[in-house]
């Protein structure tokens, strides 16, 4: 039972937590605010917080000058594509490991996890070389495959832990009730697994969206997603804070929203079910 707490105590907690929360969030808030300033206001001394001439100009400029939509589209295709591809491969695998376990199931799961721990830089050149050989360098399909592969262990693991939570008795009950394997999967398993599959999908989109080693090293212009687009701002010319902020805001906004929805599942996904 939670114990009643004095209002004073609760007030102190609230003030402290909000102060720290805002401090941690501040860089994001500042980026969003700056994106609505003019370039001159962005570097004003002293800094301007809320009282400036709000403008949307930067967003228009960023799109016009650097074709933001193309990078966004690349990000969407690569993150979404790798996730869907990964799910198609992982769902049957996780299903069979959870419901028809064998002596080797555990070893296979652990081995899959170990592939996730390989440092990317250790295999950078071979992949680079293979990509040139296969004509995959700077293509969306190439990047989609790589991101699918690096996140496949996480997808399998997350789905496995979700499937494991579906009691075997329920599937047996369905079998007793006359459901065929197809009906069992369609009416019982799928509806029960959908929340798990959805949060796996969400987390994986986030991870793929933010991946910044392979996306930086395997793309040039055609297939570059938002990570690479933002990196191109690292060598600036002239006044660019407001535009950098606008570009950044657009790059992180979709994922920030998705992330907030999936925060509960995040823990399970990132610790391979070891913390629940």
């Amino acid at each position: 039972m939670a114990r009643a707490v004095t209002t004073r105590r609760k007030t102190i907690n609230t003030v402290a937590a909000w102060a720290i929360g805002l401090l941690i969030f501040f860089p994001i808030l500042w980026t969003i605010l700056t994106s609505f300033k003019t370039e001159a206001q962005a570097i004003n001394d002293p800094p301007l917080f809320l009282f400036f001439d709000w403008t949307l100009e930067n967003y228009a400029v960023v799109q016009e000058r650097s074709d933001y939509m193309r990078f966004l589209w690349n990000s969407v295709i690569i993150a979404g594509g790798s996730t869907i591809l990964g799910l198609i491969i992982a769902v049957p695998a996780a299903w069979s490991m959870a419901f028809v376990p064998s002596k080797r199931t555990k070893d296979i799961l652990m081995w899959m996890l170990s592939t996730k721990m390989l440092p990317a830089v250790g295999v950078l050149y071979p992949i680079y070389l293979l990509f040139i050989e296969l004509g995959l360098l700077d293509t969306r399909i190439g990047l989609t495959i790589v991101l699918m592969l690096i996140n496949l262990p996480i997808i399998v693991w997350m789905l496995y832990t979700y499937f494991k939570e579906i009691p075997g008795e329920i599937l047996e009950a369905a079998r007793m009730d006359g459901a065929t394997l197809k009906e069992e999967i369609l009416y019982i398993l799928t509806p029960m697994a959908i929340p798990g599959i959805a949060s796996t999908l969400l987390l994986n989109v986030i991870l793929a969206w933010n991946e910044a080693f392979w996306t930086l090293n395997l793309t040039a212009a055609k297939a570059a997603p938002l990570t690479a687009f933002i990196a191109s701002y690292s060598s600036p010319e002239g006044l660019f804070y407001a535009k950098l902020s606008a570009a950044s805001t657009m790059a992180i906004a979709p994922i920030l929203i998705l992330g907030w929805f999936s925060q509960k599942q995040l823990v399970r996904g990132l610790t391979f079910g070891a913390v629940k």
């Binding site: 329920i170 007793m176 009730d177 509806p191």
Partner: protein, 334 residues
């Protein structure tokens, strides 16, 4: 119809044989209880009948037909699981209707049967709820509802009451017994609780390590247990066992005497000892008496009125007709 015959069936998991060759006949309309300590194979046996496990060898006949290779759904049996196994994403109505939907009944027919079952089980007001919003007893009734709408030739219950609290368990026990009276359908019921077995069964099957120790009516098992295991398992409180000089007198390796068949007196009796703990239940009093020459205390049931206190010296006399004698293999001596 609901006659089930098991013929020399065995079950092995890998190299481990959990059910050695076993024969059993269950007649139509019988209420059969499989009882035994945990790990005795009673649930496995039930799952073999259900078809949820493949049998390793042997034949299962249901209503005179070989059902060994028949998939679970086609055996005409319904099962109530220990965890109830309700479908959490479906309303109570949909849960109960699921087997009908799988059987391809039309909507009107489904509704008719669901409503009838709900009425019998007092679930009418809860039909649109999800299982998560129900209490343990209600969930239990939904699971039973899902079983009865199929009008199966036999019901299988796998420890259905073990997740309920004590008071509710007594209620559900009565409800299931009443259901059996009404439906007159074969029921096979698995439990580790001998009280459930004694109160509900027409026929009790006592299992230990996959082996049937005895089959019989509750009173048969109570009065003439075939061996020490059954004698000790059936009856509450447990039967007292005595060896050595105590049993030699009766030409047996071990003798057993139930607590209710020992009379107790302050003044005279066959054995004497000191009262350890006495439990007063109101209607009865259970005395745990440390008898000279025995390691374990002897349990004695007495009336609720008697006043024996800790440390009192008492004298015990067994009812000579009610003494069970066992040989050195633990088998009953007739």
């Amino acid at each position: 119809m609901g006659q089930i015959t098991l013929n020399q069936i065995t079950k092995s998991f890998g190299d481990v044989q959990v059910i050695p060759p076993l024969d059993l006949r269950i007649d139509d309309g019988e209420f059969v209880v499989f009882v035994g300590p945990s790990g005795c194979g009673k649930s496995t046996l039930l799952r073999l009948i259900a078809g949820l496990e493949d049998i390793t060898s042997g034949v299962i006949d249901i209503d005179g037909k070989d059902a060994t290779e028949v998939p679970p759904a086609k055996r005409g049996l319904a099962m109530v699981f220990q965890s109830y196994a309700l479908y959490p994403h479906m309303s109570v109505r949909k849960n109960i209707a699921f087997p009908l939907r799988m059987a391809g009944l039309d909507k009107a027919e489904q509704d008719k049967k669901v409503n009838a079952a709900a009425k019998v089980l007092n679930l009418t007001d809860y039909l649109e709820r999800r299982p998560g919003q129900l209490s343990g007893g209600q969930r239990q009734r939904v699971a039973i509802g899902r079983a009865i709408v199929r009008e199966p030739s036999a019901f299988l219950f796998d420890e259905p009451l073990s997740n309920l609290d004590a008071a509710l368990r007594v209620n559900m026990r009565l409800e299931i017994s009443e259901l059996h009276q009404t439906l007159k359908t074969t029921m096979i019921y698995v439990t580790h609780d001998q009280v459930e077995a004694m109160t509900m069964a027409d026929k009790i099957v006592v299992l230990q390590a996959g082996v049937i120790e005895q089959v019989g009516s509750p009173l048969e098992l109570y009065h003439t247990p075939r061996n020490r295991f059954v004698a000790g398992f059936i009856g509450s409180p447990k039967m007292n066992f005595m060896m050595g000089a105590f049993s030699a007198e009766y030409d047996a390796a071990t003798i057993g005497i139930r607590p209710e068949h020992i009379s107790v007196s302050h003044t005279e009796g066959k054995w004497s000892g000191k009262v350890g703990v006495s439990e007063h239940l109101g209607s009865d009093t259970f005395l745990y008496v440390d008898v000279d020459g025995l390691d374990d205390p002897v349990t004695v049931r007495s009336t609720g009125e008697v006043a024996f206190r800790h440390g009192d010296t008492v004298h015990l006399t067994p009812d000579a007709d009610k003494i069970h004698r066992f040989d050195n293999q633990g088998l009953r001596i007739a």
